[in-house]
């Protein structure tokens, strides 16, 4: 089966195209799957995470997955630099300017390894020289929060996929984490014990005070923290899970849509505004006695 990819951007259309591939391949076994990017004029490199997740699942189902190396050279360059194409037999090339954050697959127990990867790949001062320490810390912690969320809620056995790309000319840094787990909708249905659509489930999970956690460890603030920070930073977030698509735009507006076919897990894509000049220092001091 051959799939011809159009332009893949971090938006509804980009995720829809990937969900279409997931749907078409979900019951294939022992088959040949070929991704044709000959006519792909743009590919947001962070979208390697959700595409990689879908193709990984197809490989796990014993299909032979191939990406044709006939594609525009600038796309081949970027996907070779971030080592996405290395998974499909195309050699990696050196990332001279250090703007890529390598495509990687992690096991849920790899939280420490993930932290090292982010520290080494993201926090390179020569890549983002103008950012304050406080902003960099916020970036790093936002990414950790998403990874934690995938570990805690996805119950995935197929791993967690991540990839990032810095666009210096556009002052943006995009990062995506995708998993092939149970998805937000199933978790919310199990918790509320009632049917709910995938887009409603995302909105429910984003509401302050809501969590599907039931054990002895409380939870439920990771996504809210992420949303608050990205709003302040004037960045963007997309959360895609099952058929649900939610986006927070730079101007603070929200978009909720339904995909035609489900994404087989959850993908969280964030766009950081690297030209943010907010101080991120707190105006008032918090003391020990204020906490408990």
């Amino acid at each position: 089966m051959k799939f011809r990819l159009g332009s893949i951007e971090s938006n509804y259309d980009g995720f829809s195209q990937l969900a279409d591939i997931a749907e078409a391949t979900k019951e294939l076994f022992w088959d040949d799957i070929e991704i044709d990017m000959m006519h792909t004029s743009w590919f947001d490199a962070n979208m390697c995470a959700p595409l990689g997740a879908i193709l990984y699942k197809a490989s796990r189902d014993l299909n032979t997955v191939k990406i044709s190396d006939k594609m525009p050279s600038r796309i081949k360059d970027i996907l070779s630099k971030n080592r996405f194409l290395s998974n499909y037999g195309i050699p990696a090339i050196y990332d001279t300017y250090g703007t890529t954050v390598e495509y990687k697959r992690f096991e849920p127990k790899d939280e420490r390894y993930f932290a090292d990867y982010i520290e080494k790949k993201l926090v390179r001062k020569d890549i983002m020289p103008e950012m304050s320490e406080a902003l960099l810390k916020k970036f790093r912690e936002s990414i950790f929060e998403i990874f934690n969320n995938a570990v805690i809620h996805s119950k995935t056995e197929m791993g967690i996929f991540s990839c990032g790309q810095y666009y210096p000319n556009q002052n943006r840094f995009d990062f995506c984490i995708a998993d092939l787990g149970v998805g937000i909708r199933q978790n919310v249905i199990k918790y509320l014990k009632k049917e709910i659509s995938a887009d409603e489930a995302i909105l429910w999970a984003l509401k302050i005070g809501n969590t599907t956690k039931t054990g002895k460890v409380p939870g439920g603030i990771g996504l809210k923290l992420l949303r608050e920070f990205i709003s302040k930073n004037k960045g963007r977030i997309q959360i895609v899970s099952d058929k649900g698509y939610w986006e927070l735009a730079k101007d603070g507006t929200e978009l909720i849509k339904t995909l035609q076919f489900p994404f087989p897990g959850t993908a969280v894509n964030i766009e950081f505004n690297t030209s943010d000049t907010h101080s991120y220092f707190l105006a008032s001091e918090i003391r020990n006695e204020d906490i408990f």
Binding site: R112, N148, V217, G219, L225, I286, N288, F292
Partner: protein, 120 residues
Amino acid sequence: MNEPISLRVYEIVGNEFCVASDDGQKVFDQIAKALREDKKIKLSFANIESLTSAFLNTAIGQLYGSFQNDQIKNNLEISDMEQDDMMLLKRVVDTAKEYFKDPDRFEKLNKEAMEDSDVS
């Protein structure tokens, strides 16, 4: 001798990144051990560079399912923590208090804890 016990998060976790829930569990276990003996604890976050809500939920939020608010307030002191992390911790604590307000949840967890200790 009523000096608080000093616990250093860096030493317990062995890393400057407090990201993993498993690492939070190690910190929780140490604090819980001391609280069970009604000891005072000074928990230092010196040299910690990043913290996540998942880590703090496990290390500290979880305490509210096993101990009374007053005991935590009187016995646990946080030190060497950056102000923005203090703000995060406050949110974790407020969320935990809310989470364990549900009497059914609190009762169920206590019952499970009792059963666990019966077994061991």
